[in-house]
């Protein structure tokens, strides 16, 4: 157990060194998108509109936090792994060392979680200033951390799967980008027909947005969505392990 934890930290350590050297750039770039969404949708389009009895700004903020958790965690875990595998080609060093694949998968996931949490906590600080009605409860933090894990697992999965930079771009265009706009981040799913809603519930960000919004606005918590999010995490993690096993003897 101690060896496993030590190995996980060893894998995380190298990415933390990178983060320490580039923390300002990392934080800055990960906040550009959410701040743009906030200005464009929260203030620009949504000013004066109310949703489900809340101001649009209060409504959209948890969605933008979920979105930031997704993009920072997915990118933080997946892009570096992808670069290490295909461009720097230093990923084999992990496979040549006596650490377990489990430690490798979790260690590579944790850097996404760390980056996701740094970005979302920074955004949350801004959110609490402009929309003080948001409730940051332990449940909210639990959903936030869970979301970071789920999207980090997805990042590791895609980082391991991609055989080229084109694969990463294709996945971002076909999956991440539609998920960004269709997962109830900027609007309520209750406005959509049931068939469309059913499809959107196949996206993990939908569950993350619903849970964060409910926790932040003090609504009835959608436990089904929360467990759905955990199932997505489990599926992505199993996928990571399968790809890692395939990459090693």
């Amino acid at each position: 157990m101690i060896t496993m934890l030590r190995d996980i930290y060893s894998v995380l350590w190298v990415d933390l060194r990178f983060l320490r050297r580039h923390w300002l750039r990392t934080l800055g770039t990960s906040l550009v998108n959410p701040v743009l969404y906030l200005v464009a949708f929260g203030y620009g389009l949504g000013g004066g509109i109310s949703f489900d009895g809340y101001s649009y700004l209060a409504f959209v903020m948890p969605g933008i936090i979920a979105l930031t958790a997704m993009s920072s965690s997915y990118g933080g875990a997946g892009l570096k792994l992808h670069v290490d595998r295909l461009f720097y080609r230093c990923f084999d060093e992990y496979l040549l060392s006596p650490i377990s694949l489990f430690s490798l998968a979790v260690g590579k996931t944790l850097i996404g979680v760390v980056r996701g949490l740094i970005s979302t906590v920074a955004l949350l600080a801004v959110a609490l200033v402009i929309s003080p009605t948001l409730i940051v409860s332990p449940l909210f933090m639990l959903v936030l951390v869970s979301s970071c894990f789920v999207f980090s697992f997805l990042g590791v999965l895609i980082g391991m799967w991609a055989k080229s930079h084109q694969d990463m771009t294709t996945f971002s265009t076909l999956v991440i980008l539609p998920m960004t706009f269709l997962s109830g981040t900027f609007f309520s799913l209750s406005m959509l027909p049931d068939a469309v809603k059913a499809v959107l519930y196949l996206l993990p960000l939908t569950h993350s947005s619903e849970c964060l919004r409910a926790a932040a606005l003090g609504q009835t918590f959608p436990w089904t969505s929360f467990f759905g999010l955990q199932i997505f995490g489990l599926i992505f993690f199993v996928g990571c392990m399968w790809l890692l096993k395939r990459a090693s003897v």
């Binding site: 030590r6 350590w13 992990y94 006596p98």
Partner: protein, 284 residues
């Protein structure tokens, strides 16, 4: 130290390595010589547990590479053909990272990294980012990274490819020194002079098959220690091999008067390779 029996690796219909039977002894510098695509890197990937063989058996220090990969990883160090360092980190950070992966304690890590930086001559570059280093420095940093856990066996895949002559010789010195200090070395190369300068035994690999094996001198003796090059019809160079210079000189004296550009020289492993395969070593 290394034993393989009928070791085979196929990628679809292509046999990258076929029926390799090999023994490499502890304390030896063994080299695989062959052109690109001969199966050298595939052999290293199988022996270092990065690739699973299609069939056959391979062990390193008594550990089966398929059944006991974790044990194999503890006794080997690997320097890959390409730069396998994190290029955004410093030399020391890269070493620290590898030492952590191999479970060295904090005090061991610092001591061993400082020792090896000094041993390989990179102390002054320790805090430089990898991207800012020359090719030779990167290779030496990779060697340090592979030695942190004091492996019994070091695998070097084309260690000097792309390096200038001076840097290459400096790296050879490092490899010889490691060997003298007791490390068994398995290297691959397509440089004839590298195989001759470093290796105690050489295996010649061609299209995934081991076609000859022995000490460089033995391989040359089988062919003939002296080579005579003759230009025929102003177009084609003909090579003849002789046991000694007396026999070679006698052959030259009896050549027809129109034979041109006669060179008498010691034969080398390239001659051996060409005679065995009909190709030059550097050709793909």
């Amino acid at each position: 130290m290394i034993v393989t029996e009928k070791l085979t690796k196929r990628y679809g219909a292509i046999t990258a390595l076929g029926d390799l039977d090999l023994k490499v002894h502890a304390g030896e510098i063994f080299g695989f010589l062959g052109p690109n695509g001969a199966g050298k890197t595939t052999t290293i990937q199988v022996l270092t547990t990065l690739t699973k063989p299609t069939s056959g058996y391979a062990s390193v220090d008594g550990f089966d590479v398929v059944k006991e990969p974790e044990k194999v990883k503890e006794v080997i160090g690997v320097v890959q053909q390409h730069v396998s360092l994190d290029r955004d980190l410093t030399v020391r950070e890269n070493m620290e990272f590898r030492a952590r992966l191999h479970h060295l304690s904090s005090s061991e890590r610092k001591k061993r990294i400082d020792e090896l930086l000094d041993y390989i001559g990179l102390t002054e570059e320790a805090d430089r980012i990898i991207n800012d280093l020359s090719g030779g420095m990167k290779k030496r940093a990779m060697i340090i990274g592979s030695l942190l856990h004091t492996p019994k066996m070091l695998f070097l895949d084309e260690p000097t490819v792309g390096l200038d002559a001076q840097t290459r010789r400096r790296l050879w010195d490092s490899i010889r020194r490691l060997h003298l200090d007791g490390t068994t070395i398995f290297l691959t190369t397509h440089y004839i002079e590298e195989a001759e300068a470093l290796c105690q035994r050489v295996g010649i690999l061609h299209q995934g098959h081991l076609i000859d094996l022995g000490k460089p001198l033995e391989l040359r003796q089988r062919l003939g220690l002296v080579t005579v090059e003759t230009l025929v019809n102003n177009r084609e160079t003909r090579y003849q091999y002789f046991a000694d210079r007396v026999a070679a000189t006698s052959y030259v004296q009896n050549l027809p008067p129109d034979a041109k550009t006669i060179i008498i020289r010691d034969s080398n492993l390239e001659d051996v390779f060409v005679e065995l395969t009909g190709r030059k070593v550097g050709n793909d």
